[in-house]
């Protein structure tokens, strides 16, 4: 591990200043992802700027049913929050499906959003990776890509975003609160927070140097919504998603789907909001054939690789089964 300094600024302005003044400084939150990557030599920061001294670790429920989650809230605390469990159970389920108890007690909301891909080539500095070393090539496309993306990827990068939490947040229409380096507070919908890899897979989010994630806001959940997180993984716990789905469904009195929101994990460079499927389903009755057709339409744009093509079928089956269940029709 390259030697580094550790700094603990008192407020966001100081932190931004430190980050701007030192081009090789990075933000440290729980450290569960950053420190691992430093040990592997993937990240070699000259300085760690610890933001835990001032980052909010509060969960503020609003009268309208919305909630503001501080960026410093630990994954374990968020999963255990009564209001979250009652109003946004899909979020609690997603958090509890992630990592292990020890990790969730360290991991923060901000760090979870900004965690890096688990692609084996990104993590191995002896091999090329366009995300780690722009222009060096993507070793995954010809190598081990079984766990990587099938949609929204590019010829330069097929990495997935590994977060479970972010998938639930995507389905809940979350807004990320940022403090820009110049002090401006902005709210960015999660759907605009992550960038498609395209030719610049090293640019993953809209967060620029000196910016700090300060929190995540959830609008009130739609009245009568049923929601669920189903994570398909290779072992019963402590494994990243092969494919996961977060779904929020509102059934109309006539049995049609008044509202349906679907986000997927394990398939794309970002939590993948299945807008095509959603549009096809809104106002429809959740019959298996309709559901399957909608899910298939979502993946018309998929670009699977030889070893991960099964994920497309798995995602289609998972969407079909989950919405059928939440839509309340017998299968």
């Amino acid at each position: 591990m390259k030697p580094f300094t550790y700094q603990r600024p008192a407020d966001p302005a100081d932190a931004a200043e430190l980050l701007l003044a030192q081009p090789d400084a990075v933000v440290l939150a729980g450290g569960t992802n950053l420190v691992d990557l430093m040990k592997l030599g993937v990240l070699q920061p000259g300085s760690l700027v610890d933001v835990s001294g001032f980052t909010s670790d509060r969960i503020e429920h609003r009268a309208d049913g919305g909630v503001l989650i501080g960026a410093g809230v630990r994954n374990a605390d968020l999963a255990g929050d009564l209001g979250v469990r009652q109003r946004f159970p899909v979020l609690a389920e997603a958090l509890l499906a992630g990592a292990s108890g020890q990790l969730r007690s360290m991991a923060t909301t901000g760090g979870n959003l900004l965690q890096r891909t688990r692609c084996a080539y990104f993590q191995d500095v002896s091999k090329p990776c366009n995300k780690r070393e722009p222009g060096s090539g993507c070793a995954a496309i010809t190598g081990q890509h079984r766990d990587l993306g099938v949609i929204g990827t590019s010829d330069k990068c097929v990495a997935t975003h590994p977060s479970d939490m972010a998938v639930a947040l995507a389905a809940l229409d979350a807004v990320v609160h940022l403090r820009r380096a110049d002090g401006e507070q902005v709210g960015v919908p999660l759907s605009e927070f992550y960038l498609a890899p395209g030719d610049t897979p090293e640019r993953e989010t809209i967060v620029d140097r000196g910016d700090l994630v300060t929190g995540v806001e959830l609008p009130p959940a739609p009245a009568g919504a049923r929601m669920r997180y189903h994570k398909v993984r290779d072992r019963a716990s402590f494994a990243f998603a092969v494919v996961s789905v977060a779904a929020v469904v509102v059934r109309a009195a006539d049995g049609t789907l008044a509202d349906v929101r679907i986000a997927l994990g394990g398939v794309a460079p970002m939590p993948w909001r299945a807008r095509v499927a959603e549009a096809a389903l809104r106002g429809q009755r959740p019959e298996p054939a309709v559901l399957r057709a909608a899910a298939q339409a979502e993946f018309a744009a998929a670009r699977p690789l030889p070893d991960n093509a099964f994920k497309v079928d798995l995602a289609i089956d998972l969407i079909t089964a989950t919405i059928a269940d939440l839509g309340g029709l017998p299968r």
Binding site: D124, Q144, R146, D234, R235, A236, S237, F310
Partner: protein
Amino acid sequence: MTMTTSRATGASVQRADGYAKVTGAATYSTEWPLQNPAYAWPVLSTVARGAVRAVDDSAALAVPGVLAVLRPGAAPELQPADDPEMLILQHSRVDYRGQVVAAVVATSLEVARYASSLVRVDYTVEPHEVLIDPDSDELFTPTTAVGNPPASDKGDVDAALLAAPHVLDATYTTPPQHTSSMEPYACTAVWDGERELTLYNSDQGPAITAGTISALFGLPAGAVRIVADYIGGGFGAKAFVRSVPVLAAMAAKAVDRPVKVMATRQQMFSLAGHRGPTVQRVRLAADPSGRLVAIDHQAISHTSRHADFVEAAAAVSRSLYATPNLRTGHRAVRLDVPTPGPMRAPGIAPGLFALESAMDELAHQLGIDPVELRVRNDTDVDPSTGRPFSSRGLVECLREGAERFGWAGRDPAPRSGRQGDWLVGTGMAVSTFPVHMAPSTATALATVDGGFEVRVTAVDIGTGARTVLAQVAADELGVELDQVTLRVAHSDYGMAPFAGGSAGTASWGWAVVKAVRALRERLDQHGGVVPAEGLEVTVDTTADLAELSAYSRHSYGAQFAEVRVHVHTGELRVPRLYGVFAAGRILNPRTARSQLLGGMIFGLSMALHEDGVLDPVFGDFANHDFAGYHIAANADVADLRAHWIEEHDDELNPVGVKGIGELSNTGTAAAIANAVFHATGHRVRDLPITLERLRPGLRGEPVG
């Protein structure tokens, strides 16, 4: 053979080292308090085949705290050895990716690690190949398959296959697997002058390692001392010397101070030996009643460019079922991979996956209950040698297992069980492992204060060996357990086999019994009074083992699994896994159960998860960490039970044991795969049973 009378043995005695381990008081190999230690960090090759052209260590040497950089041409010289895996930094050849090509020695671990990232190595690169091509014309028959003859042939297998009314012909594959002990390789080397070396080493065979390291460094026997008090698991990877202790000794020599080396988890994937992958074709021919008329089991594996270690997958078929015609064979291909090594139940674990899957397929084809099919093919004599078995508890295990599991009344029809979104199925398979024993020495001492001490270079890699050997000694002495001090894991206690082949307790225990009996005789000669200078006897069991009668000796078991497969996603869970075993005398139910359960989890992990993925482009194991290489987690294990039957076998050893370390991870994978077939109607013949291999079965499409 007279057996010890039982008092301490048979009791659920707590682990002698349990308290020290859980409180952190146990001293592991790199935890010894030492003056002024340095740390070595290996630099591993980033090409799979070629040669080191140049090593630029200038940037590394410039880091404050760096003491030396070892590299080919600038490293202590070693004597020639049979196994090139030990001969690090002696030549510039690169035979696999992840081979030690240099090492940084520094005053702290952090500095050594960082400076190692600054060492620039230039290579001449040659094209490499790491994947087995089963049709390759480079396949060769090895001289041995891990100590077994490479091939066997009895009767006329081809004629029997042609004539038989029922033939099952299927090919099964298992991937490379990694031993993945909790504690990676770790070693501290301390030289006392030029000619004496102590290695605190995470080691399954201290006595053997002492000899190997002495020879490597051109030292006389006895010059090297190995201390291996506490080991965080080995599973075979610490049985033979590979690079780490050699590097520690070289580095300590180079910088003239103690040196510690601790491998990272990632490094273990190339530094440790892996279980070689297998491609196994099994052909079974049977008459309508299910009696086998022929078995043909042919296995292919890989080995490295520089040494042969060929997974003996077909050998298990030589002794399990009665059949007049029996042929087995092994072939291998040399690839640009690290030399494979032994991993818990080498050969047998993958071999039984194939054979016991095939037996299940045959049972289904014939419409015979899978338990009954095994019973019908039971035998009193070893089918390949004609020798009688010293004892054979297989049928008893099958019956008892079926009873405990509730097998009777099972609907054999595939896909006949469903609960909600889950398809439910059950399956079973046989477990077996040969009884191995090796000569050992041991020393027994009596002191004037009435205490006894026994010394044997056994090693407790987590099995409970330290505890059960004390029980054996206490019973043989006829004293309470706390009157005996048992010392293990120091090579100066004398020649002894490694903790491997499930032979430890039989081999060391035999020597312990012999030493204690000799001590008692001496004591009797002194009229039962220990003289002031004490009494000490050292024995060697070499001659005793040479007199072993010609029996075929094996342990047996039967495992029963229930699986659930999610009908939409293919998620696979194992809610129940029961095993019943017959392994001679069980000395300590507490530690034995732990071993048996641990083995079953090992087998479950093999069935569901473990998959070393060789990267054709780079030539290494692409998934070289525990996020990529999955082993079973707690949540994968539900209702897990291990039982054993009482087995008294006078033809084993004075301790009456067969060995239990490797029995229970054989057969597990087949039991689970067979249950998956019963649940889904689809046969997965390739391990691990992943979503993509299972899901096609959910739609009624062929798997593959």
